[in-house]
């Protein structure tokens, strides 16, 4: 469902940072889900001034296939900064953005490969000295004259919070943002991958010292009964779940009153 775009002026520049995603079960490279939603948000807000940026190895087929998928969403070009694997791209992106800071920078919450700490947007925000809003789902309006924007932030249980943030800002896009559009082959072929070589880059030395294994299943927490005697432990183990604890009301007026009281006390009304 498209939001009304008239609340966003036409001279806003939006940049989206994308990465190569990985399917959780098969490991196949694909569009990263949150990054695709970031592009979707950018396309809905400012179709022509959307700048999409990828920093990473660009020459292998995996990367180009996935970048073509991103192009298939209707982007004219993707700006690629070609750095080798295991580079710390924070400094690279910092250089790129400090030269020309866009009004809005959109990223996903965390990457689908590697360390996936989600720190990059925070580091960029700190170094560029601009505010960051985490987990947004919609951009409601951007007012360049007043210098602020209104976004919706995702809260647990499907709730949304309205946030007003000063321009320029960085926002991470939550998984509950509107679903990204399908990738079209024609657009993918027409789009351009503009590669920019980068000679000065930092290798992430710390990460090379870590050991990475496949995720093991985390042990489930057992309910340990703090009982001193064997009789107590036996009683706890064989205790039936309390069934008849609830109130049963036969009068419809009284029951509706009770239900309303409970709904108010739980805070849902």
């Amino acid at each position: 469902m498209a939001k009304d775009n008239t609340a966003i002026a036409q001279d806003i520049s939006i940049s989206t940072l994308v990465s190569i995603g990985e399917h959780p079960l098969s490991g196949r490279p694909r569009r990263a889900e949150q990054d695709a939603r970031a592009i979707e948000l950018g396309l809905k807000s400012a179709t022509d001034k959307l700048n999409c940026l990828y920093a990473g190895p660009a020459l292998n087929t995996n990367a180009t296939d996935v970048l073509r998928d991103y192009l298939g969403m209707g982007l004219k070009h993707i700006q690629i900064i070609d750095v080798p694997e295991h580079t710390d791209v924070t400094t690279t992106l910092l250089e790129y953005f400090s030269a020309n800071t866009p009004d809005v920078i959109l990223t996903g919450v965390q990457a689908e490969k590697g360390e996936s700490s989600g720190m990059l947007p925070y580091l960029l925000a700190e170094q560029l000295n601009i505010p960051i809003v985490a987990s947004i789902t919609h951009i409601v309006s951007i007012d360049k004259q007043a210098g602020h924007a209104k976004v919706l932030q995702a809260l647990p249980r499907g709730q949304r919070r309205k946030v007003k943030v000063n321009l320029p800002f960085i926002a991470t896009v939550d998984i509950s943002a509107p679903a990204p559009r399908q990738s079209a082959y024609g657009c993918a072929m027409r789009g351009e991958l503009v590669v920019k070589q980068c000679n000065a880059y930092h290798k992430d030395f710390e990460q090379s010292k870590w050991q990475v294994n496949g995720a093991q299943k985390r042990p489930k927490r057992l309910k340990v009964v703090k009982a001193k005697t064997a009789a107590d432990r036996f009683k706890a183990a064989t205790a039936k779940v309390q069934g008849g604890a609830g109130k049963v009301i036969y009068d419809s007026e009284e029951s509706t009153q009770e239900i309303l009281k409970m709904l108010i006390s739980e805070g849902v009304i």
Partner: protein, 418 residues
């Protein structure tokens, strides 16, 4: 002279003779024999059964409790107080505090902080920082040695930049050995990353196991495990450590003053979300209809009035009254609602599996012996249409009463699905 056991022959003679006027067979004090051993009175266990014969029921679940039994409550254990007068170092923990209470994730983080403060004979203190209101009544057993509480009205709303600056000032002033935050969606993950960026340090995110010098973190969005050396800032996952349960703690308030800053990120309040747009698995309030719902338009209208997400049992979905993605149960969605109202649902075991995680269950049914009524915390027995209509009218009246008191503008924005 008080510890010598002296017989009173007259009292013992009276005690042996039930017909004596001064005989009190059922005195509360347990009788003791000559060597001090407790004597059981064999004649007053059991009750007179239906056929006049004395019955002893040892299964424990009959209504006839023995007349003499003084129900002994388990002695309230007072846990030992863990006192820290002079702390060698601090372990800083920033609490999440959902609706002013400590979450289980907070308690796990405090448990880990306690472990880090005290293993290898360390003498650290766990310093917890609480933002906003704190209404927790079990604060003593949470494991907090020192507490810094920011409770001005500023902190009632979302102000991450102010909180980050406060934590930054605390870290500079007190130089904690470790900084722990719960890596959660309730604000801990956001705040921890802001702080790490501000301090210029590399935080370990998604930590789920801490050994002495090594951390085990989740990487690649949960697909890999990373073993890395210990860092100062840890963002820990749920159940990373056992919460504190063996000791009480001081929770001594430490005063701390920080300046207010101009935030660039301002909270404008929550948006009222259309309940039908919320994912059923994470909805907080669900109205679920089953075979006993005869009037479906009334059901839909009530759901709309209450602002509840609609759910259904398998029977209603199979009959076509509700779409398949609304099915609650073992083969449908497993819901985690705070309040679950089941209308006309009998409570088949597969449905019960789906609502196992719900906090409060309300059953509206015409049958008071069904399993749903047994499971529910509140049951209304009667005709579902009548009860739903009554409930709807009552809620409308309540809302009208509230609106007369305050002028509130509700903006409803329909997000649609997805």
């Amino acid at each position: 002279m008080h510890d010598i056991f002296r017989r009173d022959p007259r009292a013992q003679w009276i005690g042996r003779n039930r017909l004596h006027p001064l005989h009190q067979a059922n005195s509360a004090q347990p009788k003791r024999g000559p060597s001090g051993l407790l004597r059981k009175n064999l004649h007053n266990i059991g009750f007179i059964g239906p056929n006049g014969i004395n019955r002893i029921d040892r299964s424990g679940d009959s209504n006839h409790s023995p007349l003499n039994r003084i129900s002994v409550k388990p002695a309230e254990l007072t846990l030992p107080l863990h006192q820290v007068e002079e702390a060698d170092f601090y372990i800083l923990v920033a609490l999440d505090l959902v609706s002013a209470r400590l979450t289980s994730h907070d308690r796990d983080t405090l448990g880990l902080a306690h472990q880090l403060a005290n293993n290898n004979n360390g003498k650290g203190a766990v310093l917890a920082v609480a933002f906003g209101e704190l209404k927790e009544d079990k604060l003593e057993t949470a494991g907090i040695d020192r507490l810094i509480h920011f409770d001005s009205s500023e902190y009632q709303r979302y102000n991450p930049e102010q909180r980050c600056v406060d934590l930054y000032n605390i870290v500079n002033a007190l130089q904690p050995k470790h900084i722990l935050l719960p890596d959660s969606i309730h604000g801990g993950g956001d705040l921890g990353r802001r702080l790490a960026a501000r301090l210029g340090q590399r935080a370990a995110c998604g930590v789920w196991k801490v050994t002495d010098e090594q951390l085990l973190c989740r990487g690649a969005a949960g697909k890999t495990d990373i073993i890395r050396p210990m860092t100062q800032i840890l963002l820990v996952l749920e159940e990373c450590c056992e919460p504190v349960s063996e000791t009480r703690h001081q929770s001594q308030l430490l005063p701390f003053y920080t300046a207010a800053i101009n935030s660039s990120v301002l909270d404008q309040g929550n948006l009222s979300v259309d309940p039908s747009a919320v994912n059923l698995a994470e909805a907080g309030f669900i109205l679920s209809g089953g075979n006993g719902v005869k009037d479906w338009p009334v059901f839909h209208l009530t759901a709309k009035t209450l602002g509840a997400t609609e759910g259904a049992s398998r029977v209603s979905v199979d009959d076509g009254y509700m779409p398949r993605d609304r099915q609650v149960g073992a083969s449908g969605t497993w819901v985690t609602a705070k309040v679950y109202i089941a209308v006309g649902i009998s409570g088949a075991i597969q449905h019960m599996q789906g609502i196992a995680q719900c906090d409060k269950v309300v059953a509206i049914n015409s049958d008071d012996k069904c399993d749903m009524v047994k499971r529910a915390d509140l049951s209304a027995i009667g005709d579902s249409t009548v009860i739903l209509n009554d409930l709807r009218n009552l809620v409308e009246q309540h809302r009208a009463g509230q609106n007369a008191g305050q002028n509130h503008q509700y903006e409803g924005v329909n997000h649609g699905k997805g």
